[in-house]
C-alpha cells in the first residue's frame, strides 16, 4: 500500500476531520498516532484501528505536550514521516465586540499549535531526509468571512507558515503543504445551515471526502508538490458567489 512502513502523527485526531485522516492514513498502511485533548475518544479510535495505532494526550499549544507525543511516536514506531496539523478551533464575533481572549485562543491553537508541531518533528524528519507536513487550513485561509477574524487570520497564517517551511525544508527532503476544506459536516460546523452555503457540487462534505487529499499529500504521489494549497471545497471558491 501507498503508506506501508510510514508513521503519521495527526493532531486533533479523536473525532471529525482528524479521525477521518487517521483512519485513511491507517487504511493506506501507515502507523498512526492519534493525538488529542480528548483522551477517551482518542483511545477508542486507536482501539478500533487495532495494530499500528497509538493514542496520545496532546495540547497543541504546549511545547512539552508536543515533545511527549513525538517521544511516544518514536518509542512505538521508530520515526515520524508524516505530520498532520489538524487540531483547530473556531470562534466568531463582530469586530467591535470580539474580545482579545477569543483572538488569543484561536491564534494559539490554530497557528501557534502548527508552529510547535513542526518544531517537535523537524529534527526527526531532517535526520531521515524525508517527511511530509500537512497543515489543515480552511477556505477561510483563502478568502475572508464575516465575524471570523481570529479564525481567518489564523488560517491565512497557517498558509503562510506552510510556504516559509516549504522553502526552508525542501533541501532536507521535507515537503510542506496546506489543505483548505470548505463546508465539512463536523461538530465545529453543526450550527451552520447547509442550504445557506452555495456549493457547486451540491452538498456539504463528510470528513472522509477530505481524507483522500491528506493521503495523497502523505504519499510519494505528491513527491514534487510542496509549498502549495489544496482547496477541497466542492467548488465553493472557484466562482464569484451570485445569489
Amino acid at each position: 500500500m501507498r503508506l506501508d512502513g510510514r508513521v503519521a502523527v495527526v493532531s486533533g485526531a479523536a473525532r471529525g476531520l482528524g479521525a477521518a485522516f487517521a483512519r485513511a492514513l491507517h487504511g493506506a498502511g501507515a502507523s498512526v498516532v492519534i493525538a488529542d485533548l480528548l483522551d477517551d475518544d482518542a483511545a477508542a479510535l486507536a482501539a478500533d484501528l487495532g495494530d499500528r495505532a497509538l493514542a496520545t494526550h496532546l495540547d497543541v499549544t504546549s511545547p512539552e505536550s508536543w515533545a511527549a507525543t513525538v517521544e511516544a511516536a518514536l518509542a512505538a514506531f521508530g520515526t515520524v514521516d508524516v505530520l498532520v496539523n489538524n487540531a483547530g478551533i473556531a470562534n466568531a464575533g463582530p469586530i467591535d465586540h470580539y474580545p482579545l481572549a477569543k483572538w488569543d485562543a484561536v491564534i494559539a491553537v490554530n497557528l501557534t499549535g502548527v508552529f510547535l508541531g513542526v518544531q517537535a518533528v523537524v529534527a526527526t524528519m531532517k535526520a531521515a531526509g524525508r517527511g511530509s507536513i500537512i497543515n489543515i487550513s480552511s477556505v477561510e485561509g483563502m478568502l475572508g468571512g464575516s465575524h471570523l477574524h481570529g479564525y481567518v487570520a489564523s488560517k491565512f497564517g497557517v498558509r503562510g507558515l506552510t510556504k516559509s517551511l516549504a522553502v526552508e525544508l525542501g533541501p532536507d527532503g521535507i515537503r510542506v503543504n496546506s489543505v483548505h476544506p470548505g463546508f465539512v459536516r463536523t461538530s465545529m460546523t453543526s450550527r451552520l445551515d447547509p442550504t445557506a452555503v452555495p456549493i457547486p457540487l451540491g452538498r456539504p462534505a463528510s470528513p472522509a471526502d477530505v481524507a483522500g487529499t491528506v493521503v495523497f499529500l502523505a504519499c510519494d504521489d505528491s513527491a514534487y508538490t510542496t509549498g502549495t494549497e489544496l482547496v477541497v471545497d466542492g467548488g465553493m471558491i472557484a466562482g464569484v458567489p451570485h445569489s
Binding site: M1, R2, T162, K163, A166, V167, E168, L169, G170, P171, G173, R175, G182, P200, L201, G202, R203, A205, D209, V210, G212, T213, V215, F216, D220, D221, S222, A223, Y224, T225, T226, G227, T228, E229, L230, V231, V232, D233, G234, G235, I237, A238, G239
Partner: protein, 246 residues
C-alpha cells in the same frame, strides 16, 4: 491501488512526456485509455508501451475532424467515457510577448485554450461521467520570461477550468495542474545543457520535475480520492512559486 478499474479515459497529447506518464499511471490502476498525438509513429510506440490497454488515434488537437473521429471510436468501442485529460499543448515561440507574431499567438490560443474547450464540449456531449483535468503551467500563474505568450494561454486555461467546474457541477469535476519545468520535449529549451543545474538550484526540492511527478497528482485529481475537489489548480513545482527571496 486500482482506482480506475473498468474506466475509460481520453488523454490528448499522450505520445510522450506528461501525457504518456498519465496514460501509464491510469493503465497501471486499471483504466483503458484513448490517447491522441500529432505523429502516428510516436503515438504507435506509446500505444505499444501501454500494452493492450490503449487505443491511439493520431491527429492534431485543433482539428475538428480528428476530434469527431476520436469520439466516434470511443462510442463504438467502449460506449462510455469516464475521464478527460486536456493535455495537448504547444509552445512554438520562446521570447517576450511583444516579439511574438500575432499569427503564432492565435495558433497557441487555438491549441492550448480553444481546443481544450472543444474537447470538453465533445466529451460532455458523449456522456463524460466523472472528471476532467487540464494540464496548465506555473507560467499561467505569473510572468514567465521566455515563455510569455504560452503563459497567457495557460492563464486562460486556468480560468476556463474554473468556469467549467461551476458549469459542469455537480456531475463532472474539472481541475487543473500547474507544473513548473518538467523534463519533456516541450520544455527542453528551458533545461538544456548547464541550464538544468541553475534551474534546479532555485527549486526548494533541488531538481526539475519528471513526468511521473505530474502523473501522480493528475491521477489523484481524476480519482474519487478527490471527489470533493473541483475548480482547483494544483501547483506542482518543487516549491518554486512559494519562494519570495531565496
Amino acid at each position: 491501488m486500482r482506482r480506475f478499474e473498468g474506466r475509460v479515459a481520453l488523454i490528448t497529447g499522450a505520445s510522450r512526456g506528461i501525457g504518456l506518464a498519465v496514460a501509464e499511471r491510469l493503465v497501471s490502476e486499471g483504466a483503458t485509455v484513448v490517447i491522441t498525438g500529432r505523429k502516428p509513429d510516436s503515438l504507435a510506440a506509446a500505444e505499444e508501451r501501454l500494452g493492450g490497454h490503449a487505443v491511439g488515434i493520431a491527429g492534431r488537437a485543433d482539428d475538428p475532424d480528428h476530434r469527431a473521429d476520436v469520439f466516434a471510436q470511443i462510442s463504438e468501442r467502449f460506449g462510455r467515457l469516464d475521464h478527460l485529460v486536456n493535455n495537448a499543448g504547444i509552445n512554438p515561440a520562446y521570447g517576450p510577448a511583444l516579439e511574438i507574431e500575432s499569427s503564432v499567438v492565435r495558433k497557441i490560443l487555438e491549441v492550448n485554450v480553444v481546443a481544450a474547450l472543444d474537447w470538453t464540449r465533445s466529451a460532455v456531449a458523449a456522456g463524460l461521467s466523472r472528471s476532467i483535468v487540464n494540464t496548465a503551467s506555473v507560467a499561467g500563474l505569473s510572468a514567465s520570461p521566455g515563455v510569455a505568450f504560452y503563459g497567457v494561454s495557460k492563464a486562460a486555461l486556468l480560468n476556463l477550468t474554473q468556469q467549467l467546474a461551476v458549469e459542469l457541477a455537480p456531475g463532472i469535476r474539472v481541475n487543473a495542474v500547474a507544473p513548473a519545468v518538467v523534463r519533456t520535449r516541450l520544455a527542453q529549451a528551458l533545461y538544456e545543457g548547464d541550464r538544468e543545474a541553475a534551474l534546479a538550484s532555485v527549486y526548494p526540492l533541488g531538481r526539475i520535475g519528471e513526468p511521473e511527478d505530474v502523473a501522480g497528482p493528475v491521477a489523484f485529481l481524476l480519482s474519487d480520492d478527490a471527489a470533493w475537489i473541483t475548480g482547483h489548480t494544483l501547483t506542482i513545482d518543487g516549491g518554486a512559486s512559494a519562494v519570495a527571496v531565496g
